[in-house]
Structure formats: C-alpha cells, structure tokens
Symmetry: C2
Subunit: 195 residues, 2 copies
Amino acid sequence: MSTTIDVPESNNVAKEKVLLLGARPRPGGWKKGVAIMDFILRLGAIAAALGAAATMGTSDQTLPFFTQFFQFEASYDSFTTFQFFVITMALVAGYLVLSLPFSIVVIIRPHAVGPRLFLIILDTVFLTLATASGASAAAIVYLAHNGNQDSNWLAICNQFGDFCAQTSGAVVSSLVSVVIFVLLIVMSALALRRN
Amino acid sequence: MSTTIDVPESNNVAKEKVLLLGARPRPGGWKKGVAIMDFILRLGAIAAALGAAATMGTSDQTLPFFTQFFQFEASYDSFTTFQFFVITMALVAGYLVLSLPFSIVVIIRPHAVGPRLFLIILDTVFLTLATASGASAAAIVYLAHNGNQDSNWLAICNQFGDFCAQTSGAVVSSLVSVVIFVLLIVMSALALRRN
C-alpha cells in the first residue's frame, strides 16, 4: 500500500516541475511591481509633457505701450526653438499615452519580453526628443534672462517678465519628463534580466 | 517492482530538467557579434565626442578691425551654452573611453548580464547629457545664423563666419555621437533578452 501511494506522489512532483519549466522560472513578483511603477511614472510623464507643451503654447505677452509702427509682443511663435519645443512635447505626450496599453500588458504578463523591449527602444528615442527640445528651449530661456554681451543680444526678460516666467516653467516641466524617461529606461533594463 | 523502477526514473527526468534550468540556454553567437559591434560603435562615438569638444573649444575669431575701445572677438567663452557644450562633450568622451573595458568584458562573455546592464544604464545617462549639450548649442548656433527679430537679436554670422562654421561643425559632431548612443542602447536592450 505504501508503494502505491508513493508512485502518484512522485509523479505529481515531476508533473509539477514540468509545469514550472513550461512556464519559465518565476522568482517573486518584483517584476510586476516594476511594471506597476512603470505605469504610474508614465502617468506622471504625461502630465509633465502635456503641461510643458500647454504652458509654452499659451505663453504670450503684449506690452501695454506701443509705438506708431508696431506693438511689442512676445509669444512662443517668435522663437523657432519654442515652436519646436511645443511640437516635440506634444509628440512625446502623445507617444506616452499610446504606450500606456503596452505598459498594462507588461503589468498583466510581467515576464513577457516583447512589450518591454518595444517600450525600452521607443522610450530611448523619445527621451532623446524630449531632452533635445528641453535643452534647446533652456538655452534660449537662459539667453532671454541674461542676454549676451559679446554678440550684443540684450536680455528681454526685463520687458517680458511674464513671458519669461511661463517659458521657464515649461522648460522645468519638460526636464521633469526627461528625468522620468531615464527612470523608465533604467527600470525596464533591470526588469529585462533573466530572473 | 514496477513502482520501484518508476520512482528513480521520474527523479532522473526531474534532475535533468533542473540542470537545464541551471545552465541558461546558449543559442548561437549573435550576442558576441552585437558585443563587437558595440565596441566599434563606441570607438566611433569617442571620435565624434572628442571632435565636437575640440572643435568647439578651439573656436575663436578676432575681426581684423577694431575701435578705440575694444576689439571684436568671438570665442566659445562668450556663450555659456558653448562652455557647457565643451565640458559635457569632454565628459562624454571620457565616459566612453572608460566604458571600453566593460565593452571588452561583454565581448569575452557575451551572456554576462551584469556588464551589459551597467553599460545600458550609464549609456542612458550620458545620452541625456550629450543630447542636452548638442541641442542647446544647436539653438544658439541657429540664433547666431538667423537672429531673432522680435527680441532684436541680430545674426552675428555675417561678421563671425569662421566662428559660426566651426561651432556648427561641433554641433553636428555631437549629434553623431547622440545617434551612436541611441544605437548602443537599442543593441544592448536587444542583447539583454533571455536567448
């Protein structure tokens, strides 16, 4: 009797091991935790990118005095770099929204490699885009604040204070999204490991 | 009797499967190829980053006429953004040189996960640095070429042609290194997969 009980037992153990094998090793749920964190960070990055695009896009200041010939007005339209900024931050926000479903797939299947790889590659591309627009806008904002003596470019922030404050805020917001992108890529790379 | 034979059999099968689990799958040497490509791309990125820093660092033009009070001179010192550019591109080149040993380790042990993860994380950080300096310098170079009417910043490239050409070259060189960084990260991410 004892043997007949033993046999199914050992078979069950073997079957269990085969099942475990088929479904790849699953050492703890930290990958799921990383995936959920990824999703939350993406929501934060969407807010930062949309905020940056909206703040820059609505920056517009008209001075209360004008000469016979023209009014003094500054808006993001005046600077090619700021136009680039609005377009790229809107693109980045759009990409982040479209990446949410993939992030959800990663939460549901934390051991799937495909969606994670897809996200890490596209994240790298859009990190570059966000950094480029944020840094170039920062260069212009710095110039607007401080001017440059050697090339005789005067600081315009004395006149256009609100405009400068708004564009500075947009730059800071875009740099927040850059930091989140770096975190996303590092987390995805860590979670791509074998176990 | 049949039961006593069955039991060790199923144990052996289970052991073999455990052994397979312990020794990761090694399907072909494409990871080694990726690692060698990684090394070569790093050499290219070093050349691009060093070239960018050197070109920008030596940009200096003095106009052949001067007034009673001062001489007209433009150098990278004049622009904070260009100083930032020289420093960051030198940092990036230094990091790339220091990363070569790790790239060699990855060539020798294509299946090691540690060095690859280390490289992908630091690559992401220095990609951000290189993109930020390249993009902000590009914004200033654009302004030097075209000026900006609304803020009354005049284009200085009419006077300082050589200076503008040199800084533009440095920006292009830095963007080459950015593209190489993106390739490096994408390749490392692909090679981080399980097989």
